[in-house]
């Protein structure tokens, strides 16, 4: 009975892992990149200067700018520069022509030191990876549905994987390289077990984040089918007073930052919203930036009167269920993480990606062994092989192409941001064609080598196309810019090593030491 159960779990692990493995690999890799989305955006918009200015100064500059340009707007939204996001961004909503309509939004980015407008090149930046990892570039809500289903399958694969690999704790420290299929399995188990808390956390929390899609039944039952009532409970919108029509000058906003800090135990405002600026009923909402604590709190804010500076409202203390949901959200996003912890998050994400990748390689390797003698693969295995190559090395090439497009496309090109994204998908599509044409080890080696070349040359590309080369960014202490270049160089070297290993493992064994080993799976790829 027990063996039967374990076999059933192994079957589930094998097939759930295969069918969703390619998609999950893409979700995990882009999601991992999203941990550095602000830094990626900074690299992709080199026109936006990185400065560290006191928040008060930035806010004063933003207020001056908006009072000159948008005095009649119905709402101002000011995004303050933070430790990771150097830009000061202001948006304003014009008063609607008819009551009940929504006014138009205008957005500008300012230099936080001088208050002058800065124009960054048109790009999605790191936001692209963040959006892709749960929307999959599909129309709403299909992408979210698919990624939620993928998360559910991932959870199933993790649980069934724990049951399947029963010797997890006995083999806790085991990794035996240079042993072909055995090494892949060791690697898969080691990465799976050692980073298991992260795999479980990230997968389960993604289900919590999309719980309204995954488990609508409990919400529908508790709110008697009124989903909107659930959302208004979870996200209580600030009730803004109507325009009074009597003009009254707005208070200086900067001192309100300190008043808001007094209401919070730690951290400071990341966003300032002014409703009805210049009116008697002006209100100022300071929203917490949420980087000082692990438990995320949605819309944590204090509201002051824009005329008297009096406290109007404060979001109530978080209830326990909200705190539980908020802690899963906070852990998944990692917004609180300082640079060191952020890198650890990134490595954990790569470990998850590697676990999925090794799993896919093992699936194919096991089945290729059966066809080792004839050297001819049946169609379905050829298909899996092509999809493995395109979904892994192809995706890495696509990421590199996205970065290259950012520097190579003309700055004033029409629909530039869209063309960067198109380059990503064109590169990915071409890698699929290449994998289908070349197949096997040759395709792996060529694609990994190309990816290595593209990544390793990113610092050079940056030096040729902008003034922010490594010598400059290191000297001025622009760590996000320098870190991006260095991380690309590091990835390039790693990919080059991987290509070299792949190439070498494919050659017939010459040395005596290697002759003894069992035939590695990769040899039968041809």
């Amino acid at each position: 009975m027990k063996e039967g159960f374990r076999q059933a779990m192994a079957w589930l692990h094998t097939w759930a892992g295969l069918i969703f493995g390619w998609l999950l690999f893409a979700i995990f890799l882009t999601g991992t990149l999203a941990y550095f989305k602000d830094e990626i955006s900074h690299w992709m918009q080199p026109e936006i200067p990185a400065r560290s200015v006191p928040t008060e100064t930035s806010l004063t500059l933003a207020q001056q700018y908006l009072e000159q340009r948008a005095a009649n707007a119905s709402r101002w939204i000011i995004d303050l520069p933070g430790a990771r996001e150097p830009a000061l961004s202001v948006r304003w909503q014009s008063a609607p022509a008819k009551p009940g309509e929504r006014g138009q939004f205008t957005e500008k980015r300012l230099d936080p030191l001088s208050g002058a407008e800065v124009q960054g090149r048109d790009t999605q930046g790191g936001e692209f990876f963040y959006r892709f990892h749960f929307q999959l570039q599909m129309p709403y809500p299909w992408g979210r549905w698919l990624s939620t289903i993928a998360a559910m399958v991932m959870f199933v694969a993790l649980i069934s994987g724990i049951i399947t690999h029963k010797k997890i704790f006995k083999d806790f420290f085991t990794f035996r390289p240079r042993k072909g299929q055995r090494s892949w399995l060791d690697g898969h188990n080691a990465v799976g077990v050692l980073v298991l808390p992260f795999h479980l956390m990230i997968t389960y929390s993604s289900l919590v984040i999309f719980m309204t899609m995954v488990m609508p039944a409990s919400i529908l039952a508790a709110y008697k089918g009124d989903v909107q009532a659930f959302f208004s409970d979870v996200f209580p919108a600030a009730n803004t007073a109507k325009v009074a029509g009597t003009p009254e000058p707005l208070l200086p906003l900067a001192p309100l930052l300190e008043k808001a800090r007094e209401h919070w135990a730690g951290g400071s405002a990341g966003q300032v919203t002014v409703n009805n600026p210049g009116d008697t009923n002006a209100s100022v909402v300071l929203t917490h930036n949420g980087t000082d604590r692990v438990v995320h709190e949605f819309g944590r804010a204090v509201t002051f009167s824009g005329v008297t500076g009096q406290l109007l409202a404060k979001t109530p203390e978080q209830s326990v269920p909200m705190a539980v949901a908020g802690s899963f959200y906070g852990l998944h996003m990692g917004r609180f993480a300082d640079p060191v912890l952020r890198w650890l998050y990134f490595i954990c994400g790569l470990a998850s990606t590697a676990m999925i990748g090794t799993g896919l390689v093992i699936w194919l390797g096991k089945r290729q062994l059966k066809h080792a003698k004839s050297g001819v693969l049946p169609f379905e295995l050829k298909l899996v092989e092509v999809l493995n190559i395109a979904s892994m090395s192809g995706l890495v090439i696509a990421v590199a192409a996205f970065f290259w497009a950012n520097r190579v496309l003309p700055v004033d090109m029409a629909e530039r941001a869209q063309w960067e994204i198109n380059s990503f998908f064109i590169a990915w599509g071409l890698s699929l064609l290449h994998a289908a044409w070349r197949r096997g080890r040759g395709a792996w080696v060529e694609q990994l080598a190309l990816a290595a070349l593209l990544f390793a040359s990113v610092p050079l590309l940056n030096a040729v196309t902008t003034l922010h080369h490594l010598g400059n960014s290191l000297a001025t202490g622009d760590w996000a810019m320098a870190g991006f270049d260095l991380a690309c160089l590091g990835s390039g070297l790693f990919l080059g090593w991987a290509a070299w290993k792949m190439q070498r493992a494919g050659q017939p064994e010459i040395t005596g030491r290697n002759r003894q080993r069992s035939i590695p799976l990769e040899q039968e790829a041809h």
Binding site: F172, F173, T174, F175, R176, P177, A190, V191, L194, V195, L196, P197, F198, R293, V294, V295, L331, F336, V340, L341, L344, Y345, I347, C348, A351
Partner: protein, 108 residues
């Protein structure tokens, strides 16, 4: 986080040395039962101390997150080092145990 990381790495090396196969692989000789028991206790003790170090420096919320991160990645580092750089894996453990009192003095 550094202190917790050093203690975690030392702790996992201890637990690793308490297992027959790895003990022989790392030190080149068979371990007696007493030795293995000693390594096991030392390993668990160090892991426990690392949790305490992380929480007392950064508080429960941040401390637990940081501890989980260094726990996972120190074990990963050890496992990846062992087959390729056996000596380095061991000397890193010795070094982290030597450095941890200094790190403790700096942060506590």
């Amino acid at each position: 986080m550094l202190l917790a990381g050093l203690l975690c790495y030392g702790g996992f090396t201890g637990l690793c040395l308490s297992m027959d196969r790895h003990h022989a692989e790392l030190l080149g000789r068979k371990a007696s039962i007493a030795e293995r028991r000693w390594f096991k206790w030392a390993g668990w003790l160090l892991l426990g101390m690392s949790l305490w170090a992380a929480v007392s420096v950064a508080g429960w919320a941040f401390g637990l997150v940081q501890w989980c991160a260094v726990l996972m990645l120190s074990a990963l580092l050890l496992v990846m080092l062992m087959p390729y750089r056996r000596r380095m894996a061991l000397s890193l453990a010795a070094l982290s145990l030597l450095a941890s009192p200094i790190a403790a003095y700096a942060v506590l």
